[in-house]
């Protein structure tokens, strides 16, 4: 908040921070491209990924994950159900609830779309020594925690 005229990339940031930022940028751009490849929008693809990573969940939970309203989640689930990517299962104990599950086909398709990219990343990962891998995993995990904590509380005012 001090100097508006400062050229953006602030030099006082750690190199590791800078590469993380670039990683974030690259991730977003790639996600957008991938969504196009799979003929769906970014939210839909994120939904499939979230269901795959975290397992089946209700519409409200899914909405919270995606940062959209439950009404929007309903139409999103409609859309993905119509295209065969997810399935609705009503909860027998609480019949208001539906449990949304990614179909095997959807997970396979998502996996296929990302396959080459993930393999390439994995190749980089495998080139690490055990010590190096420990450093990387610890660092990235802590960054993930930071990202997950951010936005939950007071950021932009």
């Amino acid at each position: 908040m001090s100097d508006a005229s400062a050229p953006w990339p602030p030099q006082d940031l750690d190199d590791a921070t800078i590469v993380v930022r670039r990683l974030a940028e690259a991730t977003q751009e790639l996600t957008g491209r991938m969504a196009k490849v799979m003929a769906m929008n970014a939210t839909d693809m994120t939904a499939i990924a979230a269901l795959g990573l975290n397992g089946p969940m209700g519409a409200t939970d899914l909405a919270r994950h995606l940062g959209i309203r439950t009404a929007s989640a309903t139409t999103l689930i409609d859309r993905l159900e119509r295209s065969g990517h997810v399935e609705r299962v009503r909860d027998p104990h609480d019949r208001r609830r539906v449990t949304v599950t990614a179909t095997a086909a959807a997970q396979q398709a998502e996996r296929a779309a990302w396959a080459t990219t993930i393999e390439d990343i994995d190749a980089v990962s495998r080139s690490l020594s055990p010590d190096q891998r420990g450093v990387v995993v610890d660092f990235v995990s802590r960054v993930v925690e930071v990202l997950q904590a951010s936005g939950r509380n007071g950021d932009g005012s």
Copy 2:
């Protein structure tokens, strides 16, 4: 969370790959939340970030960066210009071209929105020893290269 019944995560991936994947997911979710905080959509915020990181560029370049059509870039620039986030400057040598620049105010606002998050990441970065930092920077840089290379060629088509 971390439902054991989740069929997705293939176990043959390196731990480092898995945390990168989680980082990608966290990045996207946070970007969405941040966009809401700044009262703009994800694309607009990505545009501001891209202009800040890579410097001023033309509408076509910006479109390519964002994965949208040039027509959409025009309306995006209209929108951001109207809200005072970017400025159009016509190129004197090639008068078809416009150069789009993020205003100082916009960069400041973006910086402010991300400030606490970036500082938190930076704190993690600074906790690294020089050796560790070297490992992290090298690893992440290579992952970024992979991501940038992906989607340009033989993926789903």
